[in-house]
């Protein structure tokens, strides 16, 4: 709040140091998200999605600029959302891509307001899921996210939901919460929960909706 966090600056200055301690924890199986922090550059295996066309990459309207999620995070959510939302996503490929891309944009926008502390926690979580070694050892997801099938993504979410390790439950809640709220909370998908939206008489009568 007052000064740059000493840990942060050290991490960005000496990524190798972090890498070493990170590898140790990863291999040793000590699963503390708190000790794992990989800089975006380290995890940068951002190969173009092979298995799946990037919904975000093929957006018709790319006016939204991502400010928190990096390319790897976007790929992660492109792989997770089909399992996360499941049959809630439209089947028609273009509509589906638009729904996925829009949801990822809203996830990004939502996280911006989370503030530095929770952003740091999410950065750790996403880096851990994106970095190949921890993806395999901790999330037990064998393929790169672009090649992960919906069934595999669902199995991963189920593992973290049912795990007896609180940290994984916490990760599950973090991932589902940001995704569910960004999806079901958006007007385009209100119909899925039978929510008609704000009462029409009120909208018609209230000055703040009167755009004239």
């Amino acid at each position: 709040m007052h000064e740059p966090n000493p840990h942060n600056s050290r991490q960005s200055q000496f990524p190798d140091l972090d890498r070493r301690s990170f590898l140790k924890t990863g291999l040793g199986g000590a699963l503390f998200l708190g000790t794992v922090s990989v800089t975006a550059g380290l995890s940068g295996c951002a190969t173009r999605p092979a298995g799946r066309l990037s919904a975000v990459g093929t957006r018709m309207d790319a006016s939204y600029q991502f400010r928190f999620l990096n390319r790897d995070d976007i790929t992660l959510f492109e792989a997770l959302l089909p399992a996360m939302i499941g049959p809630g996503l439209p089947e028609q490929p273009q509509a589906r891509n638009i729904a996925i891309a829009g949801t990822i944009e809203r996830i990004d926008a939502g996280i911006l307001n989370f503030g530095p502390a929770n952003q740091k926690e999410l950065r750790r979580l996403f880096d851990l899921l994106n970095f190949g070694l921890t993806r395999v050892t901790i999330a037990r997801v064998w393929s790169n996210w672009p090649n992960v099938t919906t069934t595999e993504a669902d199995a991963f979410l189920e593992r973290w939901r049912t795990s007896s390790i609180g940290l994984f439950n916490n990760g599950y809640i973090a991932l589902t919460k940001v995704s569910n709220v960004a999806f079901y909370g958006h007007r385009d998908f209100w119909h899925l929960s039978g929510y008609p939206g704000p009462p029409k008489q009120a909208v018609d009568a209230l000055p703040q909706f009167n755009n004239a």
Binding site: M84, G88, I111, L112, Y172, V181, P198
Partner: protein, 530 residues
């Protein structure tokens, strides 16, 4: 358009309101009193001091949002009006913390339930913490006064179905239930209190005490965070604050220095102890941040045969205190039963699940009913509360260990909630628990409740009522302030918000905050004027 917005009018008429984002250079200014926080406590304090002719500066870290911004939209409201964009949690992530961050504080997003502090709570404080001057008879005039100021009255309209199911269930089982008093004026019964009242009906700080203070020449800085109270010998000399850009989160680097004769901290539980800790306020017995309480909440949802439309209608109108004080004030933990509003974003974030299961949960929303139990924490040795401390970056964080005493209460509350829902005709119920299925019979639900692990993360826990951390008491060894909110060690520092409660309240806290702040501000005004 017959509607007139109090805030728009006031700004037009020349209220002294400064958006921190608009400051281009550092600034130093001065008043009789600086009040940190503009919620239930801060608003009350500012209005009373300003009406007594004192010059007042209000400092609010959130931004000024009002009618023009309240469009009944969850996503924008959660992002802008809540602490940490609605992502605030306890340090281990196990408890979601709902708390306001905007002008008006949590009262801008609260659900308008207005209860007096239960008599048993006030008497417990007198007996345990020496707060004899806060006994029910002494507090009664302050409650009366605040009920008038905030237009508190029993809700006259029929409860929505969501609330009525709580009533019906209690009725069938012979449990007591009552109608909730609400602080509203001309309420449209819409159900959007949690995202900023779009009609200005809610009589929270934003529509009452904040305009009252500004009409009386108070000055408001919003988008400005109080960072540090700076002492000069045994008194606070000034407050250091930093401005945020118009996104409400990016510091602009502009610093504001505020000097005053007296400082009132009303940044609420978590916020106030955080500020005191950052400021290294004398704390010989290390009490700051200790005994932080939250009314831990667990929840159950039911699928009803009839339409519930839990997103419409006054969010809370019925409650049951059947189990709140049943075991005495300090026995096994008691809980108050209420109902939460369910909008799609909130519901999808609160009901844990993904994929097909989740879409099935969500499809049922129009028929969904929910009951919540609010546990009365802090009245038993095995409920010592949590601790607020500072992260590396200086921001406050709450550790709240859930003790076995509380787990027992949570399990019991699950039983009660599903009993009520089935008694009211539920087709099936689901606990807010990672391992819960939908249960079609009471027997199945109860068997599951007995079997399911009561563990952090697995049981979904929430709090919308943060209390304590700067507790009141006569003994400086176990408290931070006295019954007037005056700091034990620093003579020009007071705390006027929910953080002074030495236990939880045992009822939704806003009226307790309003009343105690009114009492303590009147005393402070007297002292400063003379």
């Amino acid at each position: 358009m017959s509607l007139t917005d109090r805030i728009a009018q006031g700004l037009e008429s020349g209220w002294k309101v400064t958006d921190g984002a608009s400051l281009t250079g550092n600034l130093t200014t001065e008043a009789d009193v600086v009040v940190v926080g503009t919620g239930a406590g801060g608003g009350t304090t500012a209005e009373i001091l300003a009406r007594n002719g004192l010059s007042v500066i209000l400092v609010e870290e959130g931004r000024l949002y009002y009618q023009k911004d309240f469009k009944m939209d969850e996503l924008t409201s959660y992002a802008n009006l809540y602490q940490e964009g609605m992502s605030r949690v306890t340090r281990d992530g196990a408890i979601a913390i709902l708390q306001g961050r905007c002008v008006g504080g949590s009262t801008t997003v609260n659900w308008t339930s207005s209860f007096r502090t239960p008599e048993a709570t006030l008497n417990y404080w007198a007996d345990q913490f020496g707060l004899d001057d806060l006994r029910p008879a002494a507090m009664a005039p302050w409650f009366n006064g605040r009920e008038e100021r905030h237009n508190v009255a029993l809700w006259q309209v029929d409860p929505n179905v969501n609330n009525d199911i709580l009533r019906q269930g209690c009725e069938k089982l012979g449990y007591s239930w009552k109608i909730i008093p609400r602080n509203v004026k001309g309420c449209w019964n819409l159900g959007y209190c949690g995202v900023g009242c779009p009609t200005n009906a809610k009589q929270g700080a934003l529509m009452t005490t904040i305009p009252g203070a500004l009409d009386n020449n108070a000055r408001l800085f919003h988008s400005l965070r109080a960072d540090k109270l700076v002492m000069n010998q045994d008194r606070i000399d000034h407050l250091q604050a930093t401005a945020f850009a118009s996104d409400g989160i990016t510091p602009t680097g502009v610093t504001v220095t505020l000097k005053a004769r007296h400082f009132v901290v009303a940044a609420s539980a978590i916020g106030s102890p955080g500020l005191l800790l950052r400021s290294d306020i004398p704390d010989p017995h290390q009490r700051i941040g200790k005994r932080s309480f939250i009314h831990p909440v667990n929840a159950s949802v039911a699928q009803m045969p009839q339409r519930v439309d839990p997103f419409y209608g006054a969010p809370q109108s019925i409650y049951s205190d059947e189990f709140n004080f049943r075991n005495g004030v300090d026995g096994p933990v008691g809980y108050k039963l209420e109902v939460p509003p369910l909008h799609p974003g909130m519901s999808s974030g609160v009901i844990p699940g993904h994929g097909e299961t989740q879409i099935n949960n969500m499809t049922g929303l129009p028929h969904m009913q929910s009951v919540i139990a609010l546990l009365r924490d802090g009245f038993h040795p095995e409920s010592p509360g949590g601790t607020v401390s500072l992260r590396d970056d200086g921001s406050p964080v709450l550790d709240y260990p859930v003790t076995d005493y509380l787990w027992t209460g949570l399990r019991e509350a699950f039983h009660t909630m599903v009993e009520i829902q089935f008694a009211a005709g539920a087709e099936k119920v689901r606990l807010m628990h990672l391992d819960s299925n939908w249960y079609h019979t009471l027997a199945d639900a109860k068997a599951a409740i007995n079997r399911l692990p009561m563990e952090p993360h697995r049981v979904r826990l929430f709090t919308a009522h943060q209390m304590g951390g700067c507790g009141m008491g006569i003994n400086p060894e176990n408290s931070v302030v006295n019954s007037f909110g005056e700091h034990h060690h620093v003579s020009n520092l007071s705390v006027h918000d929910a953080s002074v409660f030495p236990t939880s309240i045992g009822a939704n806290p806003q009226l307790s905050v309003y009343a105690l702040s009114a009492r303590n501000s009147s005393r402070l005004a007297n002292k400063l004027v003379n």
